[in-house]
């Protein structure tokens, strides 16, 4: 990949995944066929399936459904991976069970 990338470490997963710095986390995983790491469904910030908690690292988010991530949760690192762009290497925990 020519684009700048960061490393994504997922709690409970041995390997580390390389993700792009210029797009949403979930899209990076989808493009690498890493569809089972974080549950992937609507990709639009609406369904809440891809809820994760960022344990370390910096990131930015775009608008996501308040029904799934409250302001208080946002402040403590909960996000939807489909609306989160990494700004550094990240260590995350998956909140939802994979339903697929």
């Amino acid at each position: 990949m020519d684009e700048e990338t960061f490393l994504l470490k997922v709690k409970g997963l041995q390997r580390v995944i390389r993700v792009r710095s210029d797009q949403f986390l979930l899209k990076s995983l989808w493009q690498q066929s890493e569809e089972n790491v974080i549950p992937l469904r609507c990709m639009g910030g609406g369904c809440g399936q891809c809820k994760i908690r960022i344990l370390s690292g910096s990131y930015r988010t775009e608008k996501m459904s308040a029904a799934h991530v409250s302001q208080a949760e946002l402040a403590s690192g909960f996000v939807l991976a489909c609306k989160t762009v990494p700004l550094s290497d990240l260590y995350i925990e998956v909140v939802k069970q994979d339903l697929s």
Binding site: R41, C42, G46, C47, A66
Partner: protein, 309 residues
């Protein structure tokens, strides 16, 4: 007019996270006609083959999902009769003045369903400015854009007390039950599909713990070829497809499920049999529901029945 009472599911107002993104998607990808913006900033759309002022309104909000869907009824007299019967049935009902928050619409009644959804009943809507031609009509008044859906078709509602909502639909609004999917116990219903007219369905209701949820709302296409072309355009436009292209066992419709930019599930739907009120109800046992929904793959995944907005 042989169709009496409820004519059709004719309208829906949905919440979206980003209105500009949603407008671009519903206008340019789905191919709905942009009608106008309301005074408070919501946006109205219609399908090119629909006559009423508009059939979809989008409202920007903190969470996506359904505000309410509307059923058009035969006449102002029937509307008042339904209002009376709705109150007698025990549901909360409130009049909404004509030409208020939905431009072009006459008087409406907002009804709170036992499943936690609001539906509106109405009888009068202004003819759309850009309606299908009435004299020596061409098939289009202008060439459809994008996927080119012809209009709003139906919605699937998820909520508790589904049995009571279905009873209201049949006993007060006179909708016909078209098909039923049974719950695992074989007695209760998992999902019920209903229609007020010749279409295979106008609305379906599924028992679900959270109130007021919507599984999908659907737009009509003419044919299986149009479904294939829609799938092409979804890949071209990076639309997230949920299931399909495929066929349903239920209603026999040909279909794709996919997500709008806010995660609301959409469907494009073609075919489906013509319903007549004298037809017997078709029933799916729980262990055949997979085939009823996904006629080709024949398996139902959990996420399909739990991911809603």
């Amino acid at each position: 007019m042989a169709i009496k009472g409820v004519l059709r599911a004719g309208f829906i107002q949905m919440r979206v996270l980003n209105l500009d993104e949603a407008v671009q998607y519903y206008r340019d990808v789905m191919g709905l006609d942009y009608v106008d913006k309301t005074a408070d900033g919501r946006v109205m759309f219609k399908g090119y083959d629909e006559f009423d002022h508009h059939s979809l309104t989008l409202r920007e909000a903190a969470e996506p999902g359904l505000d309410y869907m509307g059923f058009k009824v035969e006449s102002a007299e029937i509307l008042e009769e339904y209002a009376k019967q709705t109150a007698e049935f025990g549901l909360k009902i409130e009049a909404v003045p004509a030409q208020s928050d939905q431009p072009g619409f006459g008087k409406r009644y907002a009804v709170d369903l036992p499943t936690g959804h609001r539906i509106d009943l109405y009888s009068e809507v202004e003819l759309a400015a850009d309606h299908p031609e009435l004299t020596n009509p061409n098939i289009w008044q202008h060439e459809p854009k994008g996927i080119g859906v012809t209009g709003f078709d139906h919605a699937l509602l998820f909520g508790p007390n589904a049995k009571d909502t279905v009873r209201y639909f049949t006993d007060v609004l006179g909708l016909s039950i078209v098909e039923i999917a049974k719950a695992p116990d074989g007695e209760n219903n998992l999902c019920v599909w209903l229609t007020g007219n010749n279409k295979a369905h106008d609305v379906a209701v599924l028992e679900f713990p959270e109130p007021g949820k919507i599984h999908h709302f659907a737009f009509k296409l003419e044919s299986w070829n149009d479904i294939g072309r829609a799938a092409d355009l979804m890949s071209i436009n990076n639309i997230k497809i949920d299931a399909g292209p495929m066929r349903h066992g239920v209603t026999r419709g040909q279909t794709i499920y996919f997500f709008d930019p806010s995660g609301n599930r959409n469907e494009v739907y073609a075919g489906g049999y013509a319903h007549f009120p004298d037809m017997p109800v078709r029933v799916w046992d729980f262990d055949h529901v997979g085939k009823g929904i996904f006629y080709y793959s024949r398996t139902l995944n959990d996420a399909f029945l739990t991911v809603v907005t």
